[in-house]
């Protein structure tokens, strides 16, 4: 009896104490946590990567995990959880594991060590037995860690993730001692920039847009063209345009170039898959993160603006583009002629970007139709200024403003407007035309003039062909089209006839002197060598800079810092944040006239900064960032073991046919050639390289 009473008493006492305690020590918990926990399996299996179902539910409410967090409960539960959270389960970001090493048995071995069976063990002995300090160790700790059998050892002895089985639990990431296999959301992947300690091939290190080049080439090799497009699009939304106009600085660093003297035709393959998508009749799906409700105004719909808008939209922000011209595209629409980038192609590409839900406003000019204050009133939280470089430089010589004198970008854009019916201005074309300059704009001008029916077109450049900054392909094409080149010629003055029209260009002959700081030999004029070149139309295309006249008409931008080259100044070229914290810049307006691919990279960089800014985080550069430099030791002098192979030639329209029309001059390579070319890729990682596997 006493025993019974005692047990009753002690049980009751404990119960009461706990009941009171749960009242007294009540901590408010989001009721959704309990609700979500009841929807999970309740098995506390840890498959989701959290310490239990309660922890997973807390993570979902804290928006750290997606509704489909529970790996057992399945899709129905995910939908129910999404409803509790008021989210659309379809747009929630999926975590996927990815092995970033493309290694395998390639790097040299440092030592032999028998008997070790795990990565973490071998990693603790001098960081592994291979010379490569970055790559996969290949003992498959991640495979053992994965309880969903979503990782298997691939044919090249490194683990491959089976995407359909991966639930993104992160067990492999925890198991990997080298931090190679990572679980990332799409946003994480979009915001990834090259880092010093990443496994990057020389081409991927060089690409200003930081495209994972070996990966997309490998996907072409495997016939996965859609995957290849997605890989490119993770870094570069303008693949059709870049596939046509990019001067591919990546190919200059291609390791095949070292031994084979002909790099892999990287850009041709980009164009091949981009065209594949366009010609397939449908667009590949581009996923976007759930909406954040933040609004960003993008001023300038050129490559930088489009790239920035594309990435911000995919990160879940609302984006609107404002452009002063009648159509979007900026310099790639108005500065690049039809025969290099057909407007139809550009149109298709821009449409794909706008289809993500980006609004565009054309014919609005900053400082006139819109101001920073008017944008802020409309509720924009941040502004990206990708205003480009539209103001041609002047020569500063006598007679430059005579009738018949034009400037490069001005001429190209006015012609482009008339060509596509956006303006009815009559474009004057001379009989004997002279273009001054050696860059791509100058070449674009001469090739356009040839097509417009000028009898004789000459180019005047003060250095030699070797120093011309224009793309080599373009120079060669211009030569084929019959352009006269006058090298080592410095314009002295423009000669007028009696009516004030251009009659000729007087130039001084030059010779090459000592190299200057850019490494190019400085031209020195030869005294008394004045020569006159007859002409009735003169186009100056010696470079351009941003037009910052809005500073006078927009009060809010009065104090925007600009450099002496009138580019918009950002304290750090990696964050691209201006001295006005909510204004960011990128592209030509930040760097001065540069490559399309550079502007695209800048747009993504700015998108990252804007994303940080909108999330209330500090806008800092990427850690251990590899910005405009190479990982030490990855640029080789020689690459032994390469089998000679020839680069796939780019198909072109025949010269006599193409100079009569504005039809696209460069053609796309065939599928057979693309696959053949993709096999030339050495699939370089960091220190390892693929000895040519004789296929």
């Amino acid at each position: 009896m006493t025993a019974f009473l005692f047990m009753l008493g002690i049980g009751g006492a404990c119960g009461i104490v706990l009941a009171v305690a749960s009242r007294v020590f009540y901590v408010y918990e989001d009721p959704r946590i309990a609700e979500i926990e009841s929807l999970t399996s309740g098995a506390n299996c840890g498959g989701c990567g959290y310490t239990g179902c309660a922890a997973a539910a807390t993570a979902v409410v804290g928006k750290k995990a997606k509704p489909s967090v529970c790996v057992i409960a399945g899709m129905e539960a995910a939908t129910a959880i999404a409803q509790v959270m008021g989210m659309d389960p379809g747009t929630a970001e999926t975590l996927l594991s990815e092995n970033e090493c493309r290694g395998g048995d390639r790097a040299e071995d440092k030592y032999e060590y028998m008997g070790v069976t795990s990565c973490s063990a071998i990693d603790s002995i001098h960081g592994g037995k291979r010379v490569c300090s970055i790559g996969c160790l290949g003992y498959g700790d991640c495979i053992k860690a994965c309880i969903f059998d979503a990782i298997e050892m691939g044919p090249e002895n490194y683990p491959v993730v089976i995407e359909s089985k991966c639930v993104g639990c992160g067990a492999c990431q925890t198991a990997c001692p080298k931090n190679i296999i990572k679980v990332k959301t799409m946003s994480d992947r979009l915001l990834t920039f090259n880092q010093f300690d990443a496994a990057l091939s020389p081409c991927a290190q060089t690409c200003p847009a930081e495209i994972d080049i070996p990966k997309y080439i490998r996907q072409i090799r495997e016939g996965d063209y859609e995957g290849s497009v997605h890989t490119i699009r993770e870094r570069n939304p303008l693949l059709l345009s870049c596939g046509r106009v990019c001067p591919h600085p990546c190919e200059d660093k291609c390791r095949r170039d070292i031994e084979d003297e002909e790099p892999v035709s990287i850009n041709q393959m980009k164009r091949f898959v981009a065209d594949f998508e366009m010609n397939s009749g449908s667009r590949f799906n581009i996923p976007c993160a759930p909406s954040t409700g933040k609004k960003v105004a993008v001023i300038g719909g050129g490559p930088a603006g489009l790239s920035c808008a594309f990435f911000l939209r995919r990160l879940g922000h609302d984006v609107e583009i404002f452009d002063m011209m009648p159509k979007l595209g900026g310099m790639i629409r108005y500065g690049i002629p039809e025969y290099r980038l057909p407007k139809k192609v550009l149109e298709w590409e821009i449409e794909g970007i706008l289809n993500l839900g980006i609004k565009s406003h054309v014919n609005v000019k900053l400082g006139q139709d819109i101001t920073v204050d008017s944008l802020k009133e409309k509720g924009f939280d941040a502004i990206f200024m990708g205003i480009g470089a539209w103001k041609d430089y002047n020569l500063g010589i006598e007679g430059e403003d005579l009738n018949g004198c034009y400037t490069g970008i001005d001429f190209l854009s006015r012609f482009s407007l008339t060509q596509h019916g956006d303006s009815d201005e009559k474009i004057f074309v001379g009989k004997k035309c002279v273009v001054i300059g050696g860059g791509n704009t100058a070449i674009d001008c001469v090739r356009t003039l040839v097509r417009l029916g000028a009898d004789e077109v000459s180019i005047v450049y003060r250095r030699t062909r070797k120093e011309m900054p224009a793309n080599m392909v373009e120079i060669e094409a211009a030569e084929h089209e019959g352009i006269n080149f006058h090298f080592l010629a410095a314009p002295n003055k423009v000669v007028a006839d009696e009516n004030g029209n251009v009659k000729g260009l007087e130039y001084l002959k030059m010779e090459l002197g000592e190299p200057d700081e850019s490494g190019r030999r400085r031209p020195v004029p030869i005294e008394g060598s004045e020569t006159v070149l007859d002409t009735d139309m003169l186009v100056t295309a010696i470079g351009q800079g941003p037009d910052v006249s809005f500073k006078e008409t927009d009060i809010a931008l009065e104090n925007l810092e600009t450099t002496r080259w009138s580019t918009i100044d950002s304290a750090d070229p990696e964050t691209l944040q201006t001295n006005i914290p909510y204004i960011f810049t990128g592209g030509d307006s930040a760097t001065g006239a540069s490559l399309v691919v550079e502007a695209i990279g800048g747009g993504r960089r700015a998108a990252r900064s804007i994303h940080l800014y909108l999330n209330g985080e500090e806008v800092t550069p990427v850690k251990r960032s590899l910005f405009k430099t190479h990982i030490p030791g990855t640029i080789f002098e020689s690459v032994p073991g390469i089998e000679q192979s020839t680069r796939t030639e780019m198909p072109e329209l025949p010269v006599d046919e193409r100079i009569k029309t504005f039809e696209e001059a460069d053609l796309v390579i065939t599928q057979k050639d693309a696959i053949k070319e993709s096999k030339r890729c050495l699939d370089c990682c960091r220190i390892c390289y693929n000895r040519d596997v004789a296929a």
Partner: protein, 190 residues
């Protein structure tokens, strides 16, 4: 019985994990990583001191007085389980920082035989209140010592070439046995 004797005895000679072989599940379960081993040790020290106190009080003031010693086991289970639940709630509200550190280990201790065992041993030896307090603390420190030592060893086991059949828990148990042999050397000190 001197306090020094109790401390040395409980930490080394009668180590709760390696000499008594109690609390085997956390010993194997939380010893794969140093980090979790340290967290678990701290939580055990915290809970065992509290449990030691409260069970001594219950035993001496209620069970002995009313001649109910045979209800010792069941009442201890009830009291320790409630205590851990109570402490968990208390920490969550009042000391969130400590809760964040120990929180996930507390429920694991609810039904831990090491805690239970230490409490039972205390009353078996008829220690005084202060002595049992010291003993509880020392047992917990011994638990921590053994667990951290073992975690250190296990973190290195991956370096070794373990036959497939003996991987993970099996080799863990074998290792635990070897360490226990080493602790056997303390026998007779006290």
């Amino acid at each position: 019985m001197g306090y020094m004797e109790i401390i040395i005895g409980c930490i080394f000679v009668n180590n709760i994990l390696l000499a008594q072989f109690l609390g085997n599940c956390p010993f194997l379960g939380t010893s794969k990583k140093m980090e979790t081993a340290v967290g678990m040790s701290m939580a055990v020290i915290f809970v065992l001191v509290l449990a030691g106190t409260i069970t001594w009080l219950i035993y001496d003031l209620i069970l002995v007085r009313f001649d109910l010693v045979y209800l010792r086991t069941i009442s201890f289970i009830l009291v320790i389980a409630s205590l851990v639940q109570f402490v968990e709630m208390f920490l969550k509200k009042s000391i969130p920082a400590l809760y964040a550190g120990l929180g996930i280990f507390l429920p694991l201790i609810t039904t831990n035989c090491a805690v239970m065992g230490a409490c039972v041993l205390n009353v078996d030896k008829e220690l005084t209140f202060v002595q049992s307090l010291v003993a509880s603390f020392a047992y917990a420190v011994g638990f921590g010592l053994a667990l951290i030592l073992f975690a250190g060893v296990r973190e290195r086991i991956i370096l070794a070439r373990v036959p497939k059949q003996l991987e993970d828990t099996s080799i863990g148990l074998v290792t635990a046995g070897v360490i226990a042999l080493a602790f056997y050397a303390f026998k007779g000190m006290v």
